[in-house]
Subunit: 167 residues, 2 copies
Amino acid sequence: MDKSWIDQLKFKDDGLMPAVIQDYANGQVLMVGYMNKEAVKLTLESGLVHFYSRSRQKMWKKGEISGHIQKVREILLDCDEDTLLIKIEQECASCHKGYRTCFYRKVNSDGSLETIEKKIFEPKDIYLRTSPDVASGRCGVSPSKKKNLDWGGFTNNGIDTRNVEGY
Amino acid sequence: MDKSWIDQLKFKDDGLMPAVIQDYANGQVLMVGYMNKEAVKLTLESGLVHFYSRSRQKMWKKGEISGHIQKVREILLDCDEDTLLIKIEQECASCHKGYRTCFYRKVNSDGSLETIEKKIFEPKDIYLRTSPDVASGRCGVSPSKKKNLDWGGFTNNGIDTRNVEGY
């Protein structure tokens, strides 16, 4: 595959660019994540969305802990080559707070914030579980599927998920 | 109106945050722009999307030159309070290159880039015109509408649009 378009991309000084993640099926904007060049390549090659985590300063396959992977259906590039729009199929939910989309609150005309989405999983069931076989909430990944997601568990992925808010 | 939610927003070190602009009617993602706190306030108060232009280092009412304003229909906030999703009604087109969306190119499976949108105005007809009454392309704003857009013209808005690529 010709990957020369990746060389056209204009990453910011920190080596990152935003990627808008949109549900391929219904057009819902699910989240915005940040990619470096390596994350773009990994996303393209694997067909699964990868980001560069600014807080953890490492590559991050979306769903690597939660199982809530994002399968790439379409990648679009903006006019300035500094932003990506990636249309995906979302496993369960995008947001680490339990909602399908990270944009689950809207600003009302009186300025108040209103939660307009339903919580579809309980974060503690996903991020505090001690093994992949623990029931993982209303839209949790089934144990059989989890095996395909390269679950590393607490001991060998080096991440203490008790302190992980997302992923 | 209670604007205290604006104080919750987490702008980056440069004082900006991305705002994803989505067509309220059909869900198409049109562009990503950057807002500082003032731009968020102006957007909220005026009902028209304002950005902070990084290249020009000044406030920018989207459409101030082109007439291609964005009327706010809904503002949503993400889980980390560092990204906005704004659903809008788009006058004509978002992209300064003449397409409705800035995301007019997709990456094909062979890695080539393909333009998948039709050009709906000619940029030179918009950005090189010498007065607001010059015909402005296939989806140009009518002269009567232009009067409502507070067109400032070349002489009193201080911007030489011969060198302006966008807006």
